[in-house]
C-alpha cells in the first residue's frame, strides 16, 4: 500500500544539474519543490579519498549499480538486444548531483547552426544534401532566444574561458578568466596558429579563480590535481549541483530533498500528470507524491524509460516514422584519436584538470564548406590535459606487444613523452536509431529495461576520416617524432569507453507530430510535465552537452513558473 504524501507545486524526478537548477530557480520564486533522488546524498567531504584511480575510474564508485538497472543494446533491429552487463561506452551517474558530479566540466554553448540545423543546411546546400533517413530537425528555439539562459548557467557555475572566434554572440564575457596554460597546451596552440587556425582555451567549469556567483555562492579555484572525470571534487572548485544550485534551494526552506527515493511511475489522469509513485529503496516502502507539475530530471536514458513505462506520450515507431518518445537517439562521434610520441621531452602530464585544454572550432558545425563532403556538421578538435593516470594510460608505439618486457619498457618510457588528442564530433539522428522498452530483460523492480538501437553510419566514418587528416596535421606541426591516428570507425561497440553524451528520446521542436516538447521543454500533450535535459536534443553537436542542458533547464524553470501562474500550453 502506497502512502500518499501532501501535494507539492513541483516534484523533480532526479536531482542532478537539471533538477538542481529547477529546484533553485523555483524555490527562489516561492514554490514548494520536492526533489526525489534515487541515490544517496553527497558533499565535498565525501571526496577526501577521491584521488583513487581504481575505485572511481575503474570500479565506477559514482555510477549506477547495473545489477539493479541497465539498458539493452543492439546495433540494428535485426539483432537481439542484450543487456549492457558491465560499464564500457558510457557511464551512468547516480546519487545527489548525478552526472553533474563526475563530469569534467567542459562547458559549451551549441552553435546557432545547431538550433536551426535543417533550415540552415537546406538554405546553404539544398534539400538533397540531407540523406532521407537522417531525421534532422530544427529545435523550435534559436540560439539568440536561448542566449540569456546560457548566460545564466555561465554566471551560476562561474565558467572560465575566452571568446570562441566561431561561437554564437555572447551578452556577457566569461565570468572568470581562462584556465592556466600548460606546455602541452602551448605546443598545440602554436601548432594550430602556424596552420592558420584560431585556437582558444577550452571553456571550463573547473574554476580558474575564486568566484562568487549571483546567488552569493563562493567557490575556490581549481588546484589542477588531475582527478575530475569519474571523480568528485573535494575542493568544490568544479561546478556541480551540490556546491552551486542545491545549497541555494536548501536555503529557501522550500526544498524538500528525499534521497533513496526511486521513482517508478509518473501517475496521470487523461492528459494530466497527478504526481509520481516512488519506492524508498532503504525501507522498501512505496509512496505517492502528488504534484501540480512533474519535472522529469533524471539522466537521458531514464527520462525516456520512465515516460514509456508510465504510458506518457506516443512511443516512436521507426517503421511508420510516427510517435515521438524514444525518437532521435544520438550519441557523440569521438573520432580521429591521435597520439604523438616525443622522444626528447617529458611533460608534467600527471597534473591537469577535467576541462583544461586548447581547441579549434574551424571544423565544427557549419563553420566550413560541406559542399564536397559526404557528411554534415563537424567536430571540436581539442587537446585536454586531464591528469594522465597510470592504470588507464599505457601508450605504446604500433607493433609493440600488449604485455611483456617490451610493453613494460615502452609504456613506462612514453607515459610522460606522449600526447593524445581527438575530435569530438556531432552525432546526427537517423530513422532506425531509437530507444524503446526491451521485451525480455527487467530491472530489480520487474520493470522492462530500456532498449537502445544504434550504430555508427557512413556519416560518422566520413567525418572521422576528415577530422583525422586535420588532427594528424596538427600533431605533425607539434613536432611529434611518430604519430598514431585512428581514421576509420568500425561499428558502434558498447565495450570501449567513448563518451557519456547520450542524447535524444524526448526531443523538443516546433511541431507536436515530430517532437515531444515545445521550446519551454513542456510536453505538447501533457502540459504539466516538463522534461529538460539532453533527452530534449534533436541531435547532438560537436561539443559536450552540459552547457546546453543548463540553458534548457533555466528555460524550463521559466516555463514552469509561467505554467503555474497561467496554466495551458506555453507555445
Amino acid at each position: 500500500m502506497a502512502t500518499t504524501l501532501p501535494k507539492t507545486d513541483v516534484v523533480l524526478i532526479g536531482v542532478g544539474w537539471t533538477g538542481g537548477i529547477l529546484a533553485a530557480e523555483l524555490t527562489k520564486k516561492g514554490y514548494q519543490v520536492v526533489g526525489l533522488e534515487r541515490g544517496r546524498g553527497r558533499s565535498t567531504s565525501d571526496f577526501i579519498m577521491v584521488h583513487d584511480e581504481l575505485r572511481y575510474a575503474l570500479r565506477y564508485d559514482l555510477m549506477q549499480d547495473l545489477s539493479k538497472e541497465t539498458i539493452t543494446f543492439r546495433n540494428n533491429d535485426k539483432m537481439r538486444a542484450l543487456p549492457m552487463r558491465q560499464y564500457g561506452s558510457f557511464l551512468l551517474g547516480t546519487d545527489l548531483g548525478g552526472s553533474g558530479v563526475h563530469w569534467n566540466g567542459q562547458t559549451w554553448r551549441f552553435l546557432p547552426y545547431d538550433f536551426q540545423i535543417r533550415t540552415m543546411t537546406e538554405e546553404r546546400y539544398g534539400k538533397d544534401k540531407i540523406p532521407e533517413d537522417m531525421m534532422l530537425q530544427d529545435w523550435g528555439i534559436t540560439y539568440d532566444e536561448l542566449e540569456p539562459y546560457f548566460d545564466q548557467f555561465d554566471q551560476m557555475a562561474g565558467i572560465s574561458g575566452e571568446e570562441n572566434p566561431h561561437g554564437g554572440k555572447r551578452s556577457n564575457p566569461y565570468p572568470t578568466g581562462p584556465m592556466k596554460h600548460t606546455p602541452v597546451m602551448t605546443l598545440f596552440k602554436e601548432a594550430c596558429e602556424n596552420l592558420g587556425y584560431k585556437p582558444f582555451t577550452q571553456p571550463s567549469a573547473n574554476l580558474s579563480e575564486s568566484y562568487t556567483n549571483p546567488d552569493g555562492i563562493a567557490r575556490a579555484a581549481c588546484q589542477y590535481c588531475g582527478f575530475c572525470e569519474r571523480f568528485g571534487c573535494e575542493y568544490g572548485a568544479k561546478a556541480d549541483p551540490t556546491v552551486t544550485v542545491l545549497p541555494v534551494a536548501e536555503s529557501t526552506g522550500k526544498f524538500d530533498l528525499r534521497t533513496h527515493a526511486n521513482v517508478v511511475e509518473i501517475l496521470h489522469e487523461g492528459n494530466r500528470a497527478t504526481g509520481v509513485r516512488f519506492i524508498d529503496v532503504q525501507s522498501g516502502e512505496e509512496f505517492i507524491q502528488p504534484a501540480e507539475v512533474v519535472a522529469v530530471t533524471s539522466y537521458v536514458l531514464n527520462n525516456v524509460r520512465l515516460l514509456l513505462q508510465s504510458g506518457i506520450g506516443k512511443p516512436y515507431d521507426p517503421k511508420t516514422g510516427t510517435g515521438v518518445i524514444g525518437k532521435n537517439y544520438a550519441y557523440q562521434n569521438m573520432c580521429a584519436s591521435t597520439t604523438g610520441f616525443f622522444e626528447e621531452r617529458e611533460f608534467n602530464v600527471y597534473a591537469g584538470a577535467g576541462s583544461l585544454g586548447m581547441c579549434v572550432d574551424e571544423f565544427n558545425g557549419d563553420n566550413f564548406d560541406h559542399s564536397n563532403l559526404n557528411f554534415l556538421h563537424g567536430a571540436n578538435i581539442f587537446l585536454g590535459q586531464l591528469g594522465k593516470r597510470p592504470i588507464q594510460n599505457n601508450a605504446v608505439k604500433p607493433d609493440t606487444p600488449s604485455w611483456g618486457a617490451k610493453f613494460k619498457e615502452e609504456s613506462i618510457k612514453y607515459h610522460n613523452r606522449s600526447i593524445s588528442f581527438n575530435a569530438q564530433g556531432a552525432s546526427m539522428p537517423f530513422r532506425y536509431h531509437y530507444l524503446d522498452l526491451d521485451p525480455t530483460y527487467k530491472d530489480a523492480f520487474g520493470n522492462p529495461l530500456l532498449r537502445m538501437t544504434y550504430d555508427f553510419k557512413e556519416q560518422d566514418n566520413e567525418m572521422s576520416k576528415f577530422m583525422a587528416s586535420k588532427t594528424e596535421e596538427i600533431m605533425k606541426e607539434m613536432g611529434a617524432s611518430e604519430i598514431i591516428v585512428m581514421k576509420e570507425k568500425g561499428p558502434y561497440n558498447i565495450v570501449p569507453y567513448q563518451s557519456t553524451h547520450n542524447t535524444g528520446g524526448v526531443i523538443m521542436g516546433d511541431d507536436p507530430s515530430t517532437s515531444a516538447l515545445n521550446s519551454y521543454l513542456q510536453m505538447w500533450d501533457f502540459e504539466n510535465i516538463f522534461v529538460p535535459g539532453a533527452s530534449a536534443f534533436p541531435h547532438n553537436s560537436g561539443y559536450n552537452p552540459t552547457g546546453t542542458v543548463g540553458a534548457l533547464s533555466y528555460r524550463a524553470a521559466e516555463g514552469i513558473d509561467l505554467y503555474l501562474k497561467n496554466g495551458g500550453s506555453l507555445v
Binding site: Q86, A220, Q223, N348, W403
Partner: protein, 259 residues
C-alpha cells in the same frame, strides 16, 4: 606530517600546506563549499600537537613477509602460484625496475577477486544468457571469481598438454608461449573464451601495478615510480605551467587518511 612535507619537493616550495591553501587563492571561510578542504585545515592544526600516529600501518615490504596484507583471501595457494608466475610474464622485472611479483600484484588480484567486483556485484548478471555480438560486450554467466578459477586451471592443463610440466615449472619463454595461446583464443575453456580470460588477467595485472598501495599491490609505490607518477597530491597549482619535467616523490592515500 611536517617531516613528510619537507621531503616533498612540491610542498617544499611553500612553507606549509596551510600557506599553500592561502597562496592558491582558496577562500575557505565562506560558504557551503569549504567542507572538505576545511576539514583538512582543521586536521593539520591538530597534527602539530601529535607526535606519534598509532594509525600508521607498517610500510608494505616487497618480500611478502613483514606485510600483513600479503596473505590470501580467495586463491588457493596453488592458484596463487600460477597467477603469481603469470603476472610476472605480463609485467616482468627488468632494468627499469620491479616486476609484478615484487609489486605484489598477485595479492592485489586475490583481494580484488574476494571483493564485490570478483562476484560482479554491481553488474547485470540476470538471464537469459545468449552469446552476443562482439559489440554487445560480455554476455557470459560466469563471474570473475569463476573465470579466474576456470582460467588458472586451464593454464595449468594447457602447460601439461604442451610441455608435460606445471606452468610454474616452465621457462619464461614457455610460459609466454602458453599465455600467447590464451591471448590468441586458441585454448578451449568452459564458459568464457581464453582470450577474454587473458585480457582480464592482463588488465587486472596493470591495475595491480598502478593502483594505490592500499589495495595490496604497487608495493612501496614502486609501480608509480616507474612512470614517475606522484600518486595522490593535493595540488599542482603552482607548477601546472612549468616547462621542466618535475619528479615528485609519490604519496599514497594513506598519507591523506593518516596524516
Amino acid at each position: 606530517m611536517a617531516d613528510q612535507d619537507k621531503k616533498d619537493p612540491l610542498l617544499e616550495k611553500r612553507t606549509s600546506r596551510r600557506s599553500f591553501l592561502k597562496n592558491s587563492g582558496l577562500t575557505v571561510g565562506g560558504l557551503i563549499v569549504g567542507g572538505a578542504v576545511g576539514t583538512l585545515i582543521g586536521r593539520e592544526t591538530n597534527e602539530t600537537t601529535t607526535t606519534v600516529d598509532p594509525k600508521k600501518a607498517p610500510t608494505p615490504q616487497g618480500d611478502g613477509k613483514a606485510n600483513p596484507n600479503a596473505a590470501l583471501m580467495f586463491f588457493t595457494p596453488n592458484q596463487f602460484d600460477i597467477a603469481n608466475a603469470a603476472v610476472e610474464r605480463i609485467f616482468p622485472a627488468d632494468d627499469n625496475g620491479p616486476g609484478a611479483q615484487e609489486l605484489l600484484v598477485a595479492y592485489f588480484i586475490d583481494h580484488q577477486l574476494a571483493s564485490g567486483w570478483g562476484m560482479n556485484a554491481k553488474e547485470y548478471m540476470s538471464g537469459p544468457f545468449y552469446p552476443g555480438e562482439e559489440t554487445q560486450g560480455y554476455q557470459g554467466s560466469l563471474n570473475r571469481q569463476e573465470i579466474f578459477t576456470v582460467g588458472l586451471q586451464a593454464i595449468e592443463n594447457h602447460s601439461k598438454e604442451k610441455y608435460e610440466k606445471s606452468f610454474v615449472e616452465l621457462s619464461g619463454e614457455e610460459q609466454d608461449a602458453v599465455l600467447t595461446d590464451f591471448q590468441d583464443g586458441n585454448v578451449e575453456m568452459k564458459g568464457v573464451s581464453s582470450n577474454y580470460f587473458f585480457n582480464l588477467l592482463r588488465s587486472t595485472t596493470i591495475e595491480g601495478v598502478y593502483a594505490d598501495p592500499l589495495y595490496g599491490g604497487n608495493a612501496n609505490m614502486a609501480g608509480w615510480e616507474l612512470k614517475k607518477y606522484p600518486g595522490h597530491q593535493m595540488s599542482y597549482f603552482n607548477m601546472i605551467e612549468q616547462e621542466e619535467f618535475e619528479v615528485i616523490e609519490p604519496k599514497s592515500l594513506s598519507s591523506q587518511h593518516n596524516h
